[in-house]
């Protein structure tokens, strides 16, 4: 078995008496989609924030591409190759779709210390941005302001910006949230193809999508991983059924 791309080792985070992340060790292997599921308040977002660098864990470490990235801040981890999409869209709402994608291209390419040539007239940046927009199907909206996009299109743009970075791993926090049946079906198909480019750590509430996509699933309850396994393992696990899935699965 190949080495994991991303791994957490005994990660812990407490907020006062609440243990939001309790000794979590998970990994993400090349070419896979690893889904993290769990009830509301299980600590999924807290875990993602620690992996991406928005929150410092109390104990444990995070390995990415064989390197300890625990001490790096969010932007340094992004530069190392961690691509991210957010639960609530984090986009420049007053800017156009193209400008948002170009921002990603700036981060991936020569950086922001260029002060003279217009960013949206720099061929290298625009080509990279347009390629990413084409992949998520936003080419027609390229000159629209983000604030005027539908919720689903904003989710697509989040993914497109992550794509411009050509990341070594994707961290996606509820990409299906609020998409509706059609939208989540389309995005499910898209993510399915994306895993061959880079593995995806997927936090998702949409169980149909999770069971359709995930190579492995980890179940997080009260900050603790109570089970990790294939979709079938998780579906039939008595522990998981008690703690989370209930009669739904």
């Amino acid at each position: 078995m190949s080495d994991p791309v991303l791994a957490t080792h005994q990660l812990s985070k407490r907020f006062g008496a609440l243990c939001a992340t309790d000794d979590v060790s998970i990994d993400l292997r090349p070419g896979e989609i690893h889904a993290i599921i769990g009830p509301n308040g299980a600590g999924k977002s807290t875990l993602i924030k620690q992996i991406c660098g928005g929150l410092r864990p109390d104990a444990g470490k995070i390995m990415f591409l064989g390197r300890d990235v625990s001490g790096l801040d969010a932007s340094a981890r992004a530069r190392a190759g961690l691509g991210r999409s957010f639960q609530v869209s984090e986009l420049a709402m007053e800017d156009t779709v193209l400008e948002n994608a170009v921002l990603g291209a700036i981060g991936a390419g020569a950086g922001p210390w260029r002060f003279w040539r217009a960013a949206t007239r720099t061929a290298a940046l625009v080509e990279r941005a347009e390629a990413a927009l084409a992949r998520v199907g936003l080419t027609a909206q390229r000159d629209q302001v983000v604030a005027s996009l539908s919720h689903g299109q904003r989710r697509q743009l989040e993914v497109a910006v992550a794509l411009t970075l050509s990341p070594k791993a994707f961290i996606m926090d509820e990409p299906m949230a609020g998409l509706g049946a059609e939208g989540s079906k389309a995005l499910t198909g898209f993510l399915d193809g994306l895993r061959s480019q880079a593995p995806i750590l997927l936090v998702e509430h949409d169980m149909d999508a999770v069971f359709a996509l995930a190579d492995r699933i980890s179940v997080l309850v009260y900050g603790k991983i109570i089970a990790t396994g294939s979709a079938d393992d998780i579906r039939t696990s008595a522990v998981v059924r008690d703690a989370y899935l209930g009669d739904a699965a």
Binding site: C52, G54, A76
Partner: protein
């Protein structure tokens, strides 16, 4: 009424040249001085607009850089007119009455101070950033008051306007020309920077710092560079302002001036290229015409500001072009 922003911008600049041009023909030198004042205040506000409009940082201490530029001019010219050396402790330098030299010193000192203050303050945001920038400006204000060597509270008069190679700077129209060309060059720089990768990233950091971090950029560094650039431009404006009045005083550091610069930008249009220029023209116009009628002309300025804040978030440019200003 919807107008193309490029046309509005061109009209504003044309107006700013036409007024002193007319004044020259009918021999009204005071009107030229008013236009010069507007151009210089516009320049100072263009500097502030980079951090406030694009970067989203409400600096309530930009008079600090305006004052630094003013004192850079005052101190250099003072030593030149008294034929005394300026003793910096480790080195002694001559004063200067050359505008290009003074401008470079004013921008250099302002940029340096902006870098130090930026490093100390840019981790704060919102009301804390407003208060901490105000506090720094007040420190310099009180320091200037107590600095007896350069006039203390009374300020410092410079008897001769500084020189620019090939020009008679004492002729109001020629000095206006210098200020106007500097303003245009800085506006060009501003336009290019705003559209550049740096400007795009800075503008995105105002809207979502998390997004900018997620693409691997550091919002604090972007803001620091913007703050330094902004401070240097406002410092340059301060040097020109001191030359216009041939007088420097601690009032150039005062918080009311910091506030006026913010007001100029809000009236004109936050984050818009010509916002500060329109704002400065309106401000100087009101100050002159209403100030002649009543000492309480600020009431009318306040009413205008109130209307713009309540009904037109994009300022005057927003009203003319139908686009909203940047949200700060």
């Amino acid at each position: 009424m919807r107008m193309n922003e490029t046309w509005v911008n061109a009209l504003v600049l044309l107006g700013l040249v036409a007024v002193p041009g007319w004044a020259l023909m009918v021999d009204e030198p005071f009107t030229i001085t008013l236009a010069t004042r507007a151009a210089i205040l516009a320049l100072a506000a263009v500097g502030l607009n980079i951090v406030l409009g694009i970067g989203g940082l409400v600096s309530f201490g930009h008079a600090l850089f305006f004052g630094l530029g003013g004192y850079a001019m005052g101190i250099l010219a003072f030593h030149a007119q008294t034929y005394s050396a300026l003793d910096l402790g480790f080195i002694q330098i001559e004063g200067s009455t050359s505008m290009p030299v003074i401008w470079l010193v004013a921008m250099g000192v302002s940029a340096l101070v902006a870098a130090v203050i930026g490093i100390l303050t840019l981790r704060t945001s919102g009301v804390y950033f407003i208060m901490i920038t105000l506090a720094f400006a007040q420190m310099f204000y009180y320091f200037a008051i107590s600095w007896a060597q350069y006039g203390g509270e009374d300020g410092l008069s410079i008897y001769v306007r500084n020189g620019f190679p090939g020009l008679n700077t004492l002729a109001p129209i020629q000095f206006f020309g210098i200020c106007f060309v500097v303003l245009c060059l800085v506006l060009l720089l501003n336009a290019r920077v705003q559209a550049s990768p740096f400007g795009l990233a800075l503008n995105a950091a105002r809207q979502s710092a998390t997004r900018v971090e997620a693409v691997g950029l550091d919002p604090i560094k972007l803001r620091l560079v913007a703050f330094v650039l902004s401070g240097a431009i406002t410092g340059l404006a301060g040097a020109l302002f001191a030359d216009l009045n041939r007088f420097v005083s601690p009032s150039m550091f005062s918080w009311t001036l910091s506030g006026e610069l913010i007001v100029l930008i809000i009236i004109g249009g936050v984050g818009r290229l010509m916002g500060p220029v329109i704002g400065a023209c309106i401000f100087v116009g009101l100050e002159h015409f209403l100030g002649g009628l009543t000492d309480f002309w600020h009431i009318y300025l306040g009413a205008i500001l109130l209307c713009i804040v309540l009904f037109g978030r994009g300022g005057v440019i927003g009203l003319l072009t139908g686009k909203e200003g940047a949200h700060v």
